[in-house]
Homo-oligomer: 235 residues x 3
């Protein structure tokens, strides 16, 4: 994909966001994108291809917003980002002039998405690349009962990102979390406020989501929890 | 290696192709290069250093072709690529003017290959870097009996790349593959044509090789097969 | 971090040195930096963030030297490098004009270090970014008894880097190493001087440290040794 991009747009600066997305894990890719997109220049083209439906009739899209253009399969990858940005234009990538001459059935990242991203970086308007793409797919958030939260992401360090933000909480000092047989009380500012190996809840650096970590340890491994697991939350 | 390249050729655009080549695995590196080289601009210098023979008398070479210049040890790394391109010039990297001032015995990637690649990117002609290198080493393809194929590569997703191409097959609908106690019939266009977790044979996106995969699963792990394993093929 | 850097300094060339530093492993990061910094142009800004003390009162620093500027937490990360370069200027990164508008308590890499590195790459003098930072933290080297050496690093291939250099040895041919129940005699020039699967001691490619490896094998796994383990050395 980088070869294709640099062949079409030799002046592009390309950055690989992550080498740690598990195969076919649309949700993790979408969360990582949500964490990083706003720190990139607003003119950035984000080409994101986690594409279990390649070769089926899922749409290939480009979405221009007030903070970046997003290119990839229309399978819910962009759900979190699209809740946070304003969509200015969205198209389906059907014009063969902006695809590789031969399009495989299994690697649209190389044959459709990378060429589209590079042409957009070159200044080609989206309207030339395909017709409007209304009704982009939004992955529904997992629901929880009152008094519960859910783990939506586990990062490289084993920290658990929950689906509640600091804004939703009235009395942070009274918060109590229960998971994996352990109880954590209060929200801390930093890991440094607890002892080595102790669990700690804190406001994460991404969009104010609450996270649970372990000072100089791996909370996910220690608690043996997984994404989508439920955490009891009391205020 | 990237530091050395950017020190010699500050305007170079560098791309790391893969972080997943197992140590000393010349064959996997050669296959990955074969998959990607033609998608890079023809002026690209590919510096590939999987070099179990570093410090022995294996040659260090640069090979200019009609689609890219290839720099690395002459140990068969470039076998697949050299079957697909036209070689215009090949030299041995012996001129110390185009090496680092101190050359270690164990890291020629940094001390010999990266400097050569950067000088070539700067426009230095190969003839200045060393004398002609005839008779580049070609790794012989593994042979099989009639009615058999061999796994030549297993990708990141666990898909199996076979050593036969679509062109060698007369009646794709009649093909039957047997491996790991399982039987797969017919060639499909996409993973989407089979159920989740089902095995599928299809034409891969690299040079039309036939591949065997599992929809939303890992065929190599499920079948417990390895590179070089034999697959029975009936037409 | 790359997004922040490219937003502030769009013309920067960014290189990711390693994806293999274990979480919170300050010592490994410091050694990898020590291995590579001198191969980068002297004008390079090295932004290194292994930061177990984030959110505590550890200082955030930038250190300008005769071979590169180093940006990161003042936690001993730069110990090895600082023994090898001349420090020209060191400051604490306290000026909010050169931080992101909102600084999290857990991700100073993105909010403090990356912006500082990008502004320095843009030519902002260190004196504008904060006041002088005297007495940078130096991690003390692990001591050993006479006749002993210590493993200070294990590389990607499982080779063991020892804390002695070739210069400290009078009669290389008489050297004997004992570890993991095995004995290795003499210093070799290359892996090629021993048989496949045999252990070998040699002068490594980094700063002349002596290393122990296994030809086409993984010495660390085979010997079941770890960093900081002691090796008996006889001359």
């Amino acid at each position: 994909m980088q070869g294709v991009i640099l062949d079409i747009c030799p002046t592009a600066t390309t950055v690989t966001i992550s080498h740690e997305i598990p195969p076919q894990d649309v949700e993790t890719a979408g969360f990582v994108l949500y964490q990083i997109y706003k720190y990139y220049p607003a003119r950035t083209v984000h080409c994101v291809v986690v594409d279990p439906g390649v070769g089926t009739n899922r749409r290939a899209v480009a979405v221009r917003t007030d903070h970046g253009t997003f290119v990839g399969p229309d399978n819910g990858l962009f759900s979190l980002v699209l809740q946070a940005v304003e969509v200015l234009e969205a198209v389906t990538l059907t014009n063969p002039d902006y695809q590789l001459p031969v399009v495989s059935t299994t690697f649209h990242g190389r044959d459709i998405f990378a060429p589209a991203a590079a042409h957009i970086a070159n200044g080609i308007p989206l309207s030339k690349i395909g017709p409007p793409a209304p009704d982009l797919i939004q992955q529904p958030a997992q629901t929880t009962n009152p008094g519960q939260s859910r783990i939506i992401h586990i990062d490289h360090f084993g920290n658990l990102v929950l689906d509640i933000t600091a804004q939703e909480v009235d009395r942070p000092d009274r918060l109590t979390f229960e998971l994996g047989g352990e109880r954590i009380t209060g929200l801390r500012q930093t890991f440094g406020e607890v002892e080595e190996g102790e669990l700690v809840a804190y406001i994460g650096s991404t969009h104010n989501h609450i996270e649970i970590g372990m000072r100089n340890g791996n909370a996910a491994q220690t608690l043996d929890v997984r994404r989508h697991d439920v955490v009891s939350v009391k205020q």
